[in-house]
Symmetry: C2
Subunit: 121 residues, 2 copies
């Protein structure tokens, strides 16, 4: 029977769906993992940062040259590099007045490669 009063704004779930929901909930990762995943993907969700990652793939590059390559200010590039740094996606090495950035590991390449596969479908 109907267990709830009327004027409930949300839909009433019958037994089958409730079971369905329970099963799905049990298979879900914890909330923290979901946020970490989203935050991780958010990093790649900007064309400037993607461009930077491609730029420093291969040889390390200094901020000034990245800025010139992308046609952006050093400030804008530095801001994005900070985000990439905080996410451990890039490494840097100081040399005199310059700071040279490179990819942190091959993991980054793998993920972008997978995404390229999907786009090129």
């Amino acid at each position: 029977m109907k267990e709830r009063e009327e004027n409930l704004p949300v839909c009433e779930h019958d037994e089958v769906h409730a079971e369905h929901v329970s099963l799905a909930r049990a298979a879900m990762p914890c909330e923290e993992t979901l946020y970490e995943l989203a935050d991780f993907f958010k990093i790649f969700g900007d064309s400037t940062r993607i461009s930077i990652l491609f730029a420093i793939d291969g040889e390390p590059m200094c901020v000034c040259d990245i800025a010139e390559l992308l046609g952006m200010t050093k400030s804008a590039v530095s801001h994005q590099l900070k985000i990439l740094r905080q996410s451990d996606l890039v490494r840097y090495k100081k040399s005199g007045k310059n700071v040279y950035y490179s990819l942190a590991d091959d993991h980054v390449r793998d993920i972008i490669e997978k995404a390229l596969d999907h786009i090129k479908e």
Copy 2:
């Protein structure tokens, strides 16, 4: 006090760096690809959408049940489902009053799996 007597605000690149920039530029994907990549990752860069993808992994689910599972309104879920639909990340099948959503293909699973690897390091 800062004054600008010389009028070159950007740094002057010597020959070595200019060559470096040229090489990096030649290895870069075209601009359109960079935008497509960023847009693709942007989809995953939201915890609600990530949650939805996990929810419909396994068995297909209707909007109402997804909304209950995530503790959100049907409207909010539907808006996000539209984005996932437009990106071909999910499929849907109408059945009576319900619309059942499921993952479009295994590609989605692969990419999330890769990201999980990186997070769990």
